[in-house]
């Protein structure tokens, strides 16, 4: 299949472009297989590349003398393209419409994108590294090949870490008992030896099935004396109702060493509704001054942020204060479960607050353990109605929570907010293959890892990562307990709040502080260099 089939009008010479994040410009528009490219005709030769994949919805407004196409993008920005000919406009709009919703994964841009300078492998999410860390704390674990060729669980990686005393056969049994085969698996091992595990709901069903192997698998983690907590991120009622569909939740009777906690977190579809409202409010420049905050509140987004943070604090507390292990699951075990496991690690583990550590965490928790990025990020806020139930900004909510932590503890993170923004944008449309598929099996089949470039390699490359460093980073070795009071939670301005005035000046001011601090940091380096040089000179002078 050729892209050119879909492109009837490859180029328009006279076009007018304006957008929520760019200054107005006149130029020519050019359509390629993956991009809409706009060249400015004025002196500065500015170019704007809009990935088709990024387009969420297209509005057409055709008048007599000019035709407007509004591209609403998945990163919440909007662009408005005005061309003179109605035919051109229709063609462009149709082409983008088709090209933006191509299903074939092999036609996605990451498979065509070649990084200009070869990037080295980031080597994130390496199981050996992980295993080494765990071995320092506990010798109860081993690396298993039971999931080779994804035979027992397609949403887990091929090599996994399991308790030493549990045979592969038992794991196989356990996976049959759990929804989608997601048996309880280690997520994080705290320095006191207590662990966080994640899984999906047990398939208890109406006839109260039980699985001895599953019980054994999680009990062995506790050891003989300890008790643990099972956190179900659904209400008790919903969890019990799930039985009728073959799911369910652990019973106290069969899991006597475990205490149940139900902490209700919203399903992706609820988050989707919430973010739609949020973006509507935050992008509404004409919103009345005295309505803004209540509209923000009614979007409920910050409420979701609060709930996720609270649940993560709860788990962190269990681990750190109570010294108890925690097993977390929702229905499928790859949405809110992952939010909690990853935030818990950020709260407890200073390593996860470094740039590399954080990317490693995302790779480890979200990519390898099967958050369905393809489904969740297929549509964004502008295609209300078209979105299926699978869509939902689960990952974005996680990033927002990290942003809250960052905001509350500005010194404790090695990276800064722009990294989170950047990652958020790449989840929806990217030249990198990182967020392409739903799980490792899909990535394996499409050979994503060998044929596309990884976002992590890009972010960690020498010329990119310095710009994401937090200039006031002060590593601290302890936990950071977030405040979940609404007074402490902030709307994520960098991502959600539009620029009132898209001129460069305003934007510069938004970022000035951070950049300025970077300058200071480099000034310090320069001055110290100079001091040492001068001292050398002086030494020479003396001798």
């Amino acid at each position: 299949m050729e892209f050119s089939e879909f492109i009837k009008t490859p180029k328009v010479e006279e076009a007018f472009l304006e957008g929520s994040c760019i200054s107005k410009m006149i130029g020519s528009a050019c359509l390629t297989g993956h991009h809409l490219i706009l060249y400015s005709h004025s002196g500065d030769n500015a170019e704007h590349w809009i990935l088709h994949k990024n387009v969420d919805a297209i509005d057409r407004r055709f008048g007599n003398d000019k035709c407007q196409i509004t591209l609403k993008c998945k990163d919440f920005e909007t662009y408005c393209l005005t061309v003179l000919s109605q035919e051109d406009a229709t063609n462009i709009a149709n082409s983008i419409e088709v090209l933006s919703s191509l299903d074939n994964i092999n036609l996605q841009y990451p498979f065509f994108y070649k990084a200009t300078n070869s990037l080295s492998e980031s080597n994130l999410g390496s199981i050996e590294e992980d295993f080494l860390m765990i071995s320092n704390v506990s010798d109860q674990w081993r690396i298993s090949e039971v999931n080779n060729n994804f035979q027992i669980c397609p949403t887990y990686p091929q090599r996994i870490i399991v308790p030493k005393s549990i045979s592969d056969q038992m794991i196989f049994k356990s996976s049959e008992f759990r929804n989608l085969g997601r048996f309880p698996i280690l997520s994080y091992c705290h320095h006191n030896g207590r662990v966080v595990m994640r899984c999906s709901q047990p398939q208890i069903g109406t006839n109260n099935r039980r699985c001895k192997e599953d019980e054994k698998l999680i009990n062995v983690v506790l050891g003989s004396h300890h008790r643990g907590y099972i956190m179900d991120t659904r209400t008790q009622q919903i969890a019990l109702q799930a039985r009728s569909k073959g799911g369910g939740t652990e019973t106290e009777f069969n899991y006597p060493q475990w205490k149940k906690i139900h902490h209700n977190l919203s399903r992706p579809s609820a988050l989707y509704d919430s973010i739609c409202k949020l973006v509507e409010v935050s992008r509404d420049k004409g919103c009345a001054v005295d309505k803004w905050r209540s509209r923000l509140e009614s979007s409920n987004w910050l409420h979701h942020v609060k709930e996720v943070l609270t649940a993560s604090c709860l788990v962190s507390q269990c681990l750190d204060k109570e010294g108890a292990s925690v097993l977390i699951h929702c229905a499928d075990g790859f949405d809110s479960t992952l939010q909690i496991t990853s935030l818990t690690q950020i709260i407890l583990n200073p390593e996860c607050r470094t740039l590399r550590g954080f990317l490693n965490l995302v790779e480890k928790e979200w990519i390898l353990y099967g958050h369905p990025f393809r489904e969740r990020c297929a549509r964004s806020v502008y295609s209300v109605g078209k979105a299926s139930r699978d869509e939902g900004p689960t990952f974005l909510l996680f990033l927002d929570c990290v942003h809250q932590l960052q905001h509350q503890y500005p010194l404790s993170f090695e990276f800064d907010g722009s990294l989170l923004c950047q990652i958020a944008r790449h989840t929806y449309a990217s030249q990198f293959g990182t967020f392409l598929c739903n799980n490792e099996l899909e990535r394996f089949t499409s050979r994503v890892r060998s044929k596309t470039t990884s976002l992590w390699s890009h972010l960690l490359s020498d010329d990119v990562f310095p710009s994401y460093l937090n200039p006031v980073y002060q590593p601290r070795s302890d936990t950071i307990w977030p405040s979940v009071a609404p007074q402490s939670l902030m709307l994520w301005g960098e991502l959600f709040t539009p620029f009132v005035d898209p001129s460069a000046v305003t934007r510069r001011c938004l970022r000035s502080n951070k950049l300025y601090l970077h300058e200071l940091r480099s000034t310090i380096n320069e001055l110290s260099k100079e001091v040492s040089q001068l001292e050398e000179q002086e030494e020479k002078l003396k001798t």
């Binding site: 507390q317 500005p410 007074q487 970022r511 502080n513």
Partner: protein, 927 residues
């Protein structure tokens, strides 16, 4: 000269305050007692055990009541923990004296005037008492029948603090006595009764004015009560010369009570005319000059023209003359603030609501506000008002800055919003007003000399009403002349918003602003206790008549009176401070992320991915220290073009003298003009000619305007870091292709403040600072400021070290060494988000957070609590758990013991910092 900010928490210091000694200890030889200034306490009333208190009193302060064995409860703790001690009421404050280390809620800030447990009487807003039968009653200034049997006293302060005392252990009747004393002295009806009068008259006679030179500002803040100050103001401005003059028609305040003694008017208006005209205006306030922009547009403020007046020609004439002051004769724009700003009552109502929502009785109540916080914030409307003020100010700024003409601010009385807006406009438009000195002078001129009725607006004086019920919080009268309304607080909040948005461009910090707010409740200064200048003059005159010596008032700008030097250092914004040094070394190119937001390039465009190189042109101007003589010469110092990329950004330009052969360049000693050659000069540089032409067009123009700014800055730097000031050069960062460069150092910029409610932040530091459970330990803004301070210090130190080494190398003489200023090691013990307030909140020390989380784990609570507190020594023995237990009277502590226990406090807090972390709220929901 140390630029070091001591961010040390003065926990030890606080704990060592002599007031923690009990009487037994202070009778003996007590080395610590000498620390406190030997106050002049006249034994007027022999009511209290004077030996305990007299050392703590300020000059002129006298005790008027006391109660022993009072329990002071921990803030927001549901009265579960407290410390017992002596509660003393003086004519200045309510003082709590105890020999025990305070349980928690320490205020770390070291205030010379009031201790951490004290509260000034003018800070008291409402008083509640609780009887034995548990009935709570609010007291009014007129309340008379206060009977025995007061169990509890709750004081709500104007700064949103709540203090609770219990008299259950004290002798019957003492509670009643002290409550009466507090009530009697807390609501003065006349400013001559203010403590300031006592204080200054006593202080003047006792202390020969030996001022320590530790005031943070190097120069004395002009008070604008003398002609000199005004002359300085209008003479320095080229745009004003000959067009404006100072008039003293109101010097005796006979013409107008609400106008300053001196003010500035168009030169062409005669005194005789003004004397006539003044009565045609409401409140007798003529249009007076506030500011003139270099483009000759001015800003003026006035009250409304009297409606009943028939002499319209007066108003017309004045406006004409104002128009003539602008040579281009642009039309005046009238800004009717009555229509644009909220009414005084609205602000008062809003502030009242704000107060209610920021003073939760306990943690649960705070949590309850949970889901509603944003809509609460909206109904409070406070931020909308702040937004509105900023918006009005921005409109004026746009008008003036774009040269559309003069702006005249008009308001019914001309003393409220005009002051606020005119100050904001000047801060936004004029960089010299963004320094601490500049801002102080501005506030002094527009608010204090400008006769903002502080007494009325802040409700300092109690005005007896015909209605017997006194309601301090609701506006008892709608008439603007007697209406209470915290306009000044709105103004400070606006300044805070400017600070958050443009933190590199202003010198003040959030702490400076809260110190100003607190200063309004500290009746030691003559700054905020009068309604206008006439009132001040008359009161002082009366006072002078009674005394032989002239009394000398103290203004709030004498920060020395209030804070020791290291606390004053917290006023200075480290980012602003750094600004003066940042161009010692060339800056890096903007990080790659810089462009990505704008264009989405990073995501979509393969071409721009590796486009990390950003051409950059820099022009260096040499030091302006030697003032204007050398200016023209130094303008042409050197141009440097460096095509720096992310990877090669370390190329130092502008400063690399020790590079290869360039060392031969003679180094000018500091007294001369220092010319620095750039590494780039020696390098063949292809892009140079292009850069020259590009930069000269933009930069030279900027340079002209910068002159004043730079000189001003240099002066300041000189005072603080004379050696380093040599190196100060102004490097305008010429525009990059896409304008999205770091830059932001163009001080001459008019600040682009975003006024939308979306961009405003709730000023937690001011409004929630007493809510201990809302603070983050190790988090929030304060630690960041502290970190920035460290960086600033490092730069200063390095710069002066270089200076020093250079001087050595230059002279070839290694003996003339004045070692670079040594900076002592900072040991930050404890910085919370409300630093320097509320340093320690060990609220969870014996309240296990876990106990609050799961119901089922309550049985384990005991165990987990002990395990949590095991490492820390048991130090709570002297705190009363007030469940009816008899008071535990420990033996008097020796100073060593005090020190030891204070050490434990620190140990505990550190342990907490690591194990407990910050506030960790409301986990109970959903479990």
């Amino acid at each position: 000269m140390s630029m070091r900010r001591t961010f040390k928490l003065k926990v030890n210091q606080v704990l060592h305050r002599p007031q923690h000694h009990n009487s037994a200890a202070s009778d003996h030889d007590d080395p610590l007692k000498d620390i406190k200034l030997a106050g002049a306490y006249e034994h007027v009333y022999q009511l209290s055990p004077s030996s305990e208190v007299d050392g703590l009193l300020l000059p002129g302060e006298i005790t008027v009541g006391h109660a022993k064995e009072v329990i002071s409860y921990v803030l927001h703790d549901e009265n579960r923990r407290g410390t017992s001690g002596l509660l003393v009421c003086t004519n200045f404050r309510l003082m709590f004296v105890t020999d025990k280390p305070p349980y928690c809620n320490l205020i770390a800030v070291d205030n010379k005037l009031i201790g951490p447990q004290d509260v000034t009487l003018s800070n008291i807003e409402t008083i509640y008492i609780e009887k034995q039968n548990g009935k709570r009653k609010k007291l009014y200034p007129t309340s008379r029948n206060i009977k025995d049997g007061i169990q509890k006293l709750e004081i709500h302060c104007k700064d949103f603090r709540i203090l609770t005392y219990s008299f259950k252990l004290s002798v019957l009747g003492e509670g009643k006595n002290i409550v009466r004393a507090i009530l009697h002295h807390s609501y003065p009806q006349d400013s001559s009764l203010s403590f300031a009068m006592e204080y200054i008259s006593k202080k003047a006679s006792k202390e020969t004015s030996t001022k320590e030179a530790s005031n943070i500002s190097s120069k004395v803040v002009s008070l604008y009560r003398k002609v000199d100050d005004w002359e300085k103001l209008i003479m320095t401005s080229q745009a004003m010369k000959g067009r404006w003059r100072i008039t003293s028609i109101n010097e005796t305040f006979s013409l107008s009570a609400t106008m300053p003694g001196l003010f500035v008017v168009p030169s062409s208006l005669s005194d005789a005319f003004l004397k006539d005209a003044i009565h045609q205006y409401n409140n007798n306030r003529l249009p007076i000059w506030c500011y003139t922009h270099p483009n000759k547009c001015s800003l003026l403020r006035s009250s409304n023209f009297r409606e009943e007046s028939v002499q319209f020609q007066v108003d017309q004439k004045i406006r004409q003359e104002i128009t003539k002051c602008d040579p281009s004769g642009r039309k005046i724009r009238m800004m009717d603030l009555n229509k644009m700003c909220p009414t005084l009552q609205q602000v008062q109502m809003s502030f009242h609501k704000l107060k209610t929502s920021c003073m939760p009785a306990n943690e649960d109540e705070y949590m309850e506000s949970d889901g509603k916080w944003y809509s609460t914030l909206q109904t409070i409307k406070w931020l909308q008002f702040v937004s509105c003020c900023l918006e009005v100010a921005r409109t004026c700024v746009d008008h003036i800055d774009s040269g559309l003409g003069t702006v005249l601010l008009i308001e019914t009385l001309g003393v409220d919003w005009t002051a606020c807006i005119s100050c904001l406009v000047q801060v936004l438009i004029d960089p010299t007003k963004r320094t601490i000195d500049g801002l102080s002078e501005l506030i002094q001129r527009e608010w204090i000399i400008g006769c903002h009725p502080f007494t009325t607006r802040l409700g300092i004086l109690h005005q007896p009403k015909k209605s017997s019920k006194f309601q301090p919080e609701s506006s008892t009268s709608d008439h603007p002349e007697v209406c209470k309304s915290p306009i000044f607080m709105v103004f400070l909040d606006c300044l805070y918003q400017i600070l958050t948005q443009e933190s590199t461009k202003v010198e003040y910090t959030s702490f400076f602003l809260t110190s100003l707010a607190d200063g309004t409740r500290l009746p030691v200064f003559d700054t905020f206790i009068f309604n206008n200048e006439r009132e001040r003059n008359r009161t002082l005159q009366q006072l002078n008549q009674q005394r032989t010596t002239d009394i000398e008032t103290i203004s709030i700008w004498d920060w020395d009176v209030q804070y020791p030097h290291h606390v004053q250092q917290l006023f200075i914004n480290p980012l602003y401070r750094c600004k003066r040094f940042h161009h010692l070394v060339a800056t890096t190119t903007p990080p790659l992320g810089g462009n990505s937001i704008a264009t989405n390039d990073d995501v979509t465009s393969p071409n721009t991915l590796d486009l990390t190189t950003t051409p950059k042109v820099e022009k260096l101007k040499s030091s302006k220290k030697s003032s204007t003589h050398h200016r023209s010469a130094s303008d042409s110092t050197c141009l440097d073009t460096t095509t720096s990329s992310m990877t090669s950004s370390s190329t130092p330009h502008g400063h690399k003298r020790i590079n290869s052969n360039s060392y031969e360049v003679p180094y000018q000693p500091p007294q001369g003009r220092s010319v620095f050659y750039c590494a780039g000069d020696e390098r063949p540089d292809s892009g140079r000619s292009v850069a020259n032409s590009r930069s000269s067009s933009t930069d030279n123009m900027a340079a002209e305007d910068d002159e004043a700014v730079v000189i001003g800055l240099v002066d300041q730097v000189n005072s603080r870091a004379p050696q380093v000031a040599e190196r100060l050069r102004f490097v305008p960062n010429s525009a990059n292709n896409n304008n999205d460069v770091i830059g932001c150092r163009d001080d001459d910029d008019v600040m682009q403040v975003k006024t939308g409610v979306q961009y405003l932040r709730f000023w937690k530091f001011a409004y929630l600072r007493w809510v201990s459970f809302s603070q983050l330990i190790g988090g929030g803004e304060s630690p960041q400021v502290e970190q920035e301070n460290k960086m600033a210090d490092e730069i200063v130190q390095l710069a002066s070290k270089i200076e020093h080494l250079e001087a050595q190398l230059c002279n070839g003489d290694t003996s003339v060494t004045s070692p670079p200023p040594r900076v002592d090691d900072v040991t930050v013990q404890f910085v919370s988000s409300y630093f320097p307030y509320l340093a320690i909140s060990n609220k969870s020390a014996n309240k296990s957070t876990l106990g609050r989380v799961y119901n089922f784990s309550r049985k384990k609570e005991g165990k987990s609590t002990t395990s949590a507190s095991a490492p820390s020594p048991k130090i709570h023995h002297h705190h009363h758990h007030t469940e009816g237990k008899p008071p535990h009277r420990p033996a008097p502590l020796s100073p060593a013991q005090v020190a030891a226990s204070s050490h434990h406090m620190v140990a505990l807090s550190e342990q907490q910092q690591t194990s407990e972390g910050g506030t960790y709220n409301r986990l109970s929901s959903g479990v």
